[in-house]
Each structure stands twice: as structure tokens, then as C-alpha cells.
């Protein structure tokens, strides 16, 4: 017997043969990357809310000699305040990278960029110059990839339409926008320019990913102060419809404050799983083949079958929405766990 989404029932035959796609993660722990020289503004155990400062990011870090380390018990990663050389020169404040040959080597620089908490949570651990780990008070929707920076904002779902360049207006500034249909790099670059904080896309082609990264690199090279912008890719690279159960969760979160994080790639929401819509256990989706993206009901295993061109594979029977029953390789089926 299983209980999923409030429904009690017997698991259909052979459902364990179908790989499960995790739909929700409870109280995830996310890692926010920082680098040597970034100034951490919180301590372990601190409770933070979305948008609260976690660290100030160093721009153009440089290594400076901060004087003798003899008799100094400072360990790498500690913040060294500004001081004076014995010879009279001033040394800027910065993070102790390490001490070698009796000298302290400090990473210093200006700190124009912010790293904000993407969601409500508690700072679990801080590894100076490497990572801040945040325990999220809420749930995460797993994604396949993340591009850009951790962000937060109100979740807005755009209408699903065939146009790759949907209408974006200034009302969406500060929001995290779901693009249920086709999207390209130009649309995402335009979204960032309009002050949109982040995007949730179903799929993004490799060329668009590289174009987006190149656009951001160009702006950073110009020393512009960039507002953070993040993109989570829910599926992969090839265009397909948004999975129904994921769409239902996004609709339930619509209008609420959510965050995006990179490690692991998640859409984060500061609420519990209770009340979020979950599909019945036999709900499956095809992630390959002629009916890619179609959803339906798992009927059971169909044995070892031969598929064109001469491929022998374990197969399953799926009744697609609309009533058509198909025999598909098990590798093309996913359920929602």
C-alpha cells in the first residue's frame, strides 16, 4: 500500500521498474559558493530571510602581503583587519589566504556585489572563501541545471504559448518568471535587462546557454554592477512541454516568494509540502521517443521487446491521456517520486 497525494491505493504492477523523478525535496540544504576575499556577513546558526545579506563579493581580488606571521595563530580564511606595516605602509583588510615564508598573504579588493539569501533558512556552516551552506525552511523543486546567481522573487507564470519571445513588461521586475513554452537566450537576456530576477524554463538549448553565459561575461568584463539573475532548467536541452505534476506545483506556488539556487539546482519555496498537489503513483511521463513529453498512466511491464532499429529493451505499457495505449522502452518512462 502506498500513500501519495492523499490517495491510498495499491502500487500498480512493476512500478518499481520505472525510474522515479523526484518532484519535491523537503528542507533541502543548499550550497552558495563564495571565493577567497568575499566578506561573509553572517555566522553559523544565523536565521536569514529571502534577500538578507549573506556575503559581499570581492571584485578583482588581489593578493597583498599583510606583514609577518611570526607568533600569529590566525588560520587561513580568517578576516584580517586593515593595519600598518612595520615599514609604515598601510595594508587593506581582507581574508587570510595562507601564510608562507613567514608572511601573511591576504586577499583584498572592493566588494560591490551582494550574495543574498534566496529563501528563508538557517546558515548551517560557513567555509570561508569556499561556501556558505544554508538549511532551507521549506521545499525545493529539483531541476536539471542552473545558470547564473542565486536569486529570490515573486513567482509569476507566463502563459504557455508557441512564441519564443513572450511579452515581458516592467511589472515583472523583481519576479521569478516561469516560461512554460519555448524560450531562447535573447528572451532571457531581455528579462534580465528588465529587472526580472530569475527564470524557470523547461528546456534550454546548449547554444542558448552559451549565449546567455557570454552575455553575462561581457557585462562583467565591462565592470558593470550586475543585478543577480538566475535560470533553472527543469528538464534538459530539447523542447518539450512542462511536466503536468511540476506545473501543478508551480501553480500552487504562483504569487509566493521563491528562490533559485545552484548547488543543487533547485527552485526553493519557504513553505511545507503539506497541501502541495502530488500526482497519483501510477502517473508517468515519456521523456524520449516519438511521444516525448506525453503523460499518462502506467499499466505494467510489457516484457523484453524489440524496437527499431533492432534494439532489444525492457518495455512498459502506458495509457496516454486521451486513451491511446503505447508500448515504450522503460528508459523512456519516468514516474514522479
Amino acid at each position: 500500500m502506498s500513500r501519495v497525494g492523499g490517495v491510498v491505493g495499491t502500487a500498480p504492477a512493476g512500478l518499481g521498474l520505472v525510474p522515479a523523478r523526484q518532484l519535491l525535496v523537503g528542507a533541502p540544504r543548499v550550497v552558495l559558493a563564495i571565493e577567497p576575499g568575499d566578506r561573509v556577513a553572517v555566522t553559523a546558526g544565523t536565521a536569514v530571510g529571502p534577500g538578507e545579506l549573506l556575503a559581499e563579493r570581492v571584485r578583482d581580488p588581489r593578493l597583498v602581503d599583510a606583514g609577518s606571521s611570526r607568533g600569529d595563530r590566525a588560520t587561513p580564511g580568517e578576516w584580517v583587519p586593515a593595519g600598518e606595516h612595520r615599514r609604515g605602509g598601510a595594508t587593506p583588510a581582507g581574508e587570510l589566504l595562507f601564510a608562507a615564508r613567514g608572511r601573511r598573504r591576504v586577499v583584498a579588493g572592493t566588494h560591490p556585489d551582494r550574495l543574498d539569501a534566496p529563501v528563508r533558512g538557517r546558515v548551517a556552516t560557513i567555509h570561508p572563501g569556499a561556501a556558505i551552506e544554508l538549511e532551507v525552511e521549506g521545499v525545493g523543486v529539483p531541476a536539471s541545471a542552473f545558470l547564473g546567481d542565486a536569486v529570490h522573487g515573486r513567482l509569476v507564470i507566463l502563459p504557455a504559448e508557441g512564441d519564443a519571445r513572450p511579452a515581458l513588461d516592467v511589472n515583472l521586475a523583481g519576479a521569478i518568471v516561469v516560461f512554460p513554452g519555448r524560450v531562447d537566450a535573447e528572451t532571457l537576456i531581455r528579462a534580465r535587462a528588465m529587472g526580472i530576477h530569475g527564470a524557470v524554463v523547461v528546456a534550454l538549448a546548449d547554444r542558448d546557454r552559451r549565449d546567455l553565459a557570454a552575455s553575462e561575461a561581457r557585462q562583467r568584463a565591462g565592470l558593470h554592477r550586475l543585478a543577480p539573475f538566475g535560470v533553472v532548467v527543469l528538464d534538459g536541452n530539447l523542447r518539450r512541454p512542462l511536466a503536468g505534476p511540476v506545473a501543478a506545483i508551480l501553480v500552487a506556488l504562483s504569487g509566493r516568494e521563491v528562490g533559485l539556487a545552484a548547488e543543487p539546482a533547485l527552485l526553493l519555496a519557504g513553505r511545507s509540502m503539506d497541501g502541495l498537489p502530488l500526482p497519483p503513483p501510477d502517473r508517468v511521463r515519456l521523456r524520449g521517443g516519438a511521444d516525448v513529453g506525453a503523460e499518462g498512466r502506467w499499466l505494467g511491464p510489457a516484457g523484453s521487446r524489440r524496437f527499431a532499429p533492432g534494439i532489444q529493451a525492457e518495455a512498459g505499457l502506458v495509457e496516454l491521456d486521451g486513451g491511446r495505449v503505447v508500448v515504450v522502452p522503460l528508459g523512456d518512462v519516468e514516474r514522479f517520486g
Partner: protein, 548 residues
């Protein structure tokens, strides 16, 4: 396959049935092996995407045994119900390869260390004090996804390395503090250096967290000592690729033949060369290279997509090919059918090229007696696997080809005792290896003219085929069929030895006998459409369903 050793007696203490599980990063493979008619036999096997419940797969296999032979199922205790809880299991695991940050004083040492780590199953991220500033070194080594740190110099250190040793040790300490818990391996002279002895003054972690390792040149061959240590740090006791090497050794001992096993997985790859050698205590000489760079979808390196594109036999633009391969990385079992199959075949060829390059000169230029393919090869039809192997493994000579279709080899490698494992391999050899056939690769025939003739004599029935330089001749020779191939060339060719006339014993298989006079990959046309047409022609000959 020919010549398995006599079957050993069944161990009275063992069960009459056992299961094998190969839990990979992309695939869960399960098999049931039972004691039938006085010997061990493969009863049922299935491979499914990772994430499938292993018990559900074993239950499926039990059902199949029941349907096929209810009497046998009853004898083996499988008459009813799910898979028995007490069923003995041999289980191996292969995870995604971990990543090690390699930091060295000089670029030369970094390259050496990265090459060694790359052959020990690690992905690498490198930096050197000669090329990168300390901030960049620490940043690279503390990135998310780094699982260990290897810092080293030559042993003894080169002149330009000595002055950088203290800074390197300090950088290692800086990384260890920022990433607590990751193994820090100090290789070569660095581990004995004064800064390490001084320890905490430069932030080096406590001695217990540091592994002192041999230098990049230690061992025979050079680097083997460090490689062994790096394998030990990476692999657990149930590591599938280590177990596979043990089984390859057993196969070589049992068959008395030079065996090469190539396992290309979605995220890892290993190539093992095992040859009987009475002068060694184990009776076998075993060399292997565990190179994630040879994985099916290790496509981040320079030129890797180019090589896949060079082997693709369907029309697909480069951007689309990138996206299809990226999708495969996310869901390796998706699009198994349709045009996903030739894309996989092309990716397999490119991966095998990288694996061979990473292991060079492992095994030398001599063709092995038997090549066994496993891992992602199992997703293709047998004859297509034979062609992939023939396309890429270009060593002159005659080689039998087999496919570990049930993925039994690695789990059986979990039997620790050599003699017990050898007995199990001997009994199961015919079930482990799906015979694909024999490939004879001859090089040096003059291009553009008839090269000679092959006469195949099987059980007194002889057939003749003309050979053409640059061509691939196929002789139908079914599985289990033994034959003698009489090859007569018009000019001197290389076929293990140089000559014009060769008599070669061959064994049949799903692909039959392949007499391969092609010049690959150098002889392929530059123009993509012509290259594709030529490759597709060979593919259709062995894999006719491709053109349906």
C-alpha cells in the same frame, strides 16, 4: 567462444541459486544464476535505468524463470512470491567518478600528476604555481564538486620547484581549512618537506588527514605506485571496475588466452588487458586503465564533440547533436530506439577512441585473442557492437569479440578467492560471453585494387570471398561455429606478422567473420556527407534494421 576449462564442482555449501547486481550510475543490471544439470547456468537477466528498484528487477526475473520452466523454478525455490530475501547476491557499484584538484609546482609535474589521476578513475581539475596565482589555485581546489586534493612535485624536486614548495604546502593547508574532510594527498618530495614537518605553522591539517604518496615517477611503470594509491583512495570494496579487472584475470587464466575487456559506461570507463603468465604468482599479468575521460558522455574535453560528429551516420547539425548528447547525459536510457541508437553508436566509437588513447601503450600493438565489451555496448545489437569494436580497435591480427550482455563479469569479480572465481567463470564462460564473431584486421594492402581472397572452411563446407583493399568483407558464420580462414593476399600485409598467406582459426558469432582491410580513421573522406555515406554503408551491412 572456445575452450572453457572443465567445469568445477559445485561448492556444496553454496545455494543452488544466486543473483548478481551491477549498480551503475546509469544502469541497474541484474541476473539470476542457478545450478542446473550439474553446472551453473545463467537463467535470466535484465538491464534497466538506474533508479529502478533492484528487488523489482529480480522479482521480474523470478517471474520469467517460473514462466519458462515451472519445474526448475520449484526446484530452485522460486515457485511463488517475490525474490527470496535470503538469495545470495554478488553486488558491485560504479558511481560517477569523483574529481580531484591537482596542484603542482610546475606545469610539467601537473601534467604528470593529472595523467596518473586520470588513469586511476578520477576526473581532474589542475593548477600549477608556475602558471596560476595563489588565489586562482585555492579557488580551483575549493570549488563545489572537488572530492580530494593532490599536491605534488617531482621526486627529487626540480630546481624551479624547490622555491615553490613552501607556498604549495601553504596552499594545500588553505584548501584543507576551507574544505574540511576532503583527503589531502601530498606526492613526492613535498610530503617529506620541512613545511609539512612543521605542520600547523602554515595551516597544514593534522597528519592524520594527510596522505603521503609516492612521487609521479615512482613504480614500474613510472607512476604506478601513485596510481595504486589514488585507486585505493577512490574506490570502495564493492567497486565494479576493480571487480571487473579480477574477473578479466580469471577469464584469461581459464581460457588461456590474452583477453582485453573494454567497459564504457555513461560516466566512467575502464580497459583491462589480462594475459596468462606463469611467471607471476597469480598466473596472469593484469594491466588496466580506469579513465573517466573514456566515458560515453565525457564530452567536455577539446575536440570531443568533433569526434562524435565524425562517426555519426545520420544527418544532424552540430548544435542539435550537442543537445541530443546533453539529453543523454541527463537520461542515459532515453531514446534507446529510433535515431537515438546511431547517435549512441557514434558516441561509443568516440568514447572508445578516448579510452584507448588514455591507456596507450597498454597492451601494445598486438591484437588480443579476445575482446570483451561491456557497459554501454549492451544498448546496441550485437553485430553493431562488433562493428564499433572493429572501427576503433585497429590492431593488426585476428581477435574474437564477445559481449558481456548480462553484465555478469563484474559481480563475479566479487568472489575474492582466485580459484573459486576461476571455477565460476569457467562454468559460466559461455553464458557470460555473447559471441559476436571474429574480426581479422590486415593493414598494408595497396589501396584501390583487389587485395586477395579469403576461403573459410567450416565443417568441410568452404566458401570464398574476394578481398578489396580499403574494404570490409563479411562472412556469415553463426554463433558456435568454428572454422579455418585461409587468407591469400596479392601483396605483403601486416596481420600480426608480415606475409601473404595466413591460416587463421576463427569462431562465429552474431556478426560472423569480419575481414577488415579498411584504413580507419585516417582513410575516411574529409567531406562530412561522403564520410557519413561510407560509414552508414558499413553500418547497414551489419545492422540492416538501421535502414528500415
Amino acid at each position: 567462444m572456445t575452450g572453457p576449462a572443465p567445469a568445477g564442482a559445485r561448492d556444496a555449501a553454496s545455494s543452488a541459486l544466486f543473483a548478481t547486481l551491477d549498480l551503475g550510475s546509469a544502469t541497474t543490471a541484474a541476473a539470476l544464476v542457478g545450478w542446473v544439470g550439474g553446472r551453473w547456468r545463467l537463467l535470466a537477466a535484465a538491464s534497466l535505468p538506474a533508479g529502478s528498484d533492484p528487488d523489482a528487477i529480480l522479482t521480474l526475473l523470478c517471474d520469467r524463470v517460473r514462466v519458462a520452466d515451472p519445474g526448475l523454478a520449484g526446484t530452485l525455490g522460486l515457485a511463488t512470491g517475490p525474490v527470496p530475501a535470503h538469495l545470495p547476491r554478488f553486488v558491485v557499484r560504479t558511481a560517477r567518478p569523483p574529481r580531484i584538484a591537482v596542484v603542482a609546482a610546475s606545469e610539467q609535474t601537473r601534467e604528470q600528476l593529472e595523467a596518473i589521476a586520470g588513469r586511476a578513475g578520477w576526473l581532474t581539475t589542475g593548477a600549477s604555481a608556475a602558471r596560476h596565482d595563489p588565489i586562482e589555485i585555492v579557488c580551483r581546489a575549493t570549488r563545489a564538486g572537488i572530492d580530494a586534493l593532490l599536491v605534488g612535485t617531482a621526486d627529487p624536486p626540480e630546481a624551479d620547484e624547490r622555491s615553490l614548495m613552501e607556498e604549495l604546502v601553504a596552499a594545500a593547508g588553505a584548501v584543507a581549512v576551507r574544505r574540511p574532510g576532503i583527503p589531502v594527498i601530498l606526492a613526492g618530495a613535498l610530503g617529506r618537506s620541512a613545511p609539512v614537518a612543521a605542520g600547523t605553522d602554515v595551516g597544514v591539517p593534522a597528519a592524520g588527514d594527510v596522505v603521503l604518496a609516492p612521487g609521479p615517477a615512482a613504480g614500474d611503470p613510472a607512476g604506478s605506485d601513485l596510481r595504486t594509491l589514488l585507486v585505493d583512495v577512490r574506490a570502495g570494496p564493492d567497486d565494479g571496475r576493480r571487480a571487473l579487472a579480477r574477473s578479466a584475470g580469471s577469464l584469461a587464466r581459464v581460457l588461456g588466452r590474452r583477453v582485453e575487456v573494454v567497459d564504457v559506461g555513461v560516466s566512467g570507463a575502464v580497459r583491462i588487458v589480462a594475459a596468462p603468465d606463469a611467471s607471476t604468482p597469480a598466473g596472469v599479468r593484469l594491466d588496466d586503465v580506469d579513465a573517466p575521460v573514456g566515458a560515453l558522455l565525457a564530452l567536455d574535453g577539446p575536440g570531443t564533440i568533433d569526434r562524435v560528429e565524425a562517426w555519426v551516420t545520420i544527418g544532424l547539425d552540430r548544435a542539435r547533436l550537442r543537445d541530443r548528447l546533453a539529453e543523454l547525459r541527463l537520461a542515459p536510457w532515453s531514446d534507446l530506439a529510433g535515431d537515438g541508437a546511431p547517435i549512441r553508436a557514434a558516441a561509443l566509437r568516440a568514447a572508445l577512441e578516448r579510452l584507448l588513447a588514455a591507456g596507450d601503450p597498454l597492451g601494445g600493438a598486438v591484437a588480443p585473442d579476445l575482446v570483451v565489451a561491456t557497459g554501454a555496448f549492451g544498448a546496441l545489437p550485437g553485430p553493431a557492437v562488433a562493428l564499433v569494436l572493429a572501427d576503433v580497435i585497429r590492431r593488426a591480427g585476428a581477435t574474437q569479440l564477445g559481449l558481456d550482455t548480462a553484465r555478469l563479469l563484474a559481480p563475479i569479480g566479487m568472489i575474492a578467492d582466485d580459484a573459486a572465481r576461476d571455477a565460476r567463470v569457467a562454468e559460466l564462460a559461455e553464458d557470460i560471453l555473447l559471441p559476436l564473431g571474429t574480426v581479422i584486421v590486415a593493414s598494408g594492402a595497396r589501396p584501390g585494387r583487389p587485395a586477395g581472397r579469403v576461403t573459410v572452411d567450416a565443417d568441410g563446407a568452404a566458401g570464398e570471398i574476394d578481398l578489396e583493399a580499403g574494404g570490409l568483407a563479411l562472412v556469415d558464420l553463426p554463433p558456435g561455429q568454428q572454422a579455418l580462414a585461409d587468407l591469400r593476399f596479392r601483396s605483403t600485409v601486416e596481420l600480426g606478422t608480415r606475409g601473404r598467406h595466413f591460416l587463421v582459426p576463427v569462431a562465429g558469432g552474431l556478426a560472423g567473420l569480419l575481414v577488415d582491410l579498411r584504413d580507419l580513421p585516417g582513410g575516411l573522406p574529409e567531406r562530412p556527407d561522403r564520410r557519413r555515406e561510407l560509414l552508414a554503408g558499413w553500418e547497414r551491412a551489419l545492422w540492416p534494421e538501421r535502414s528500415e
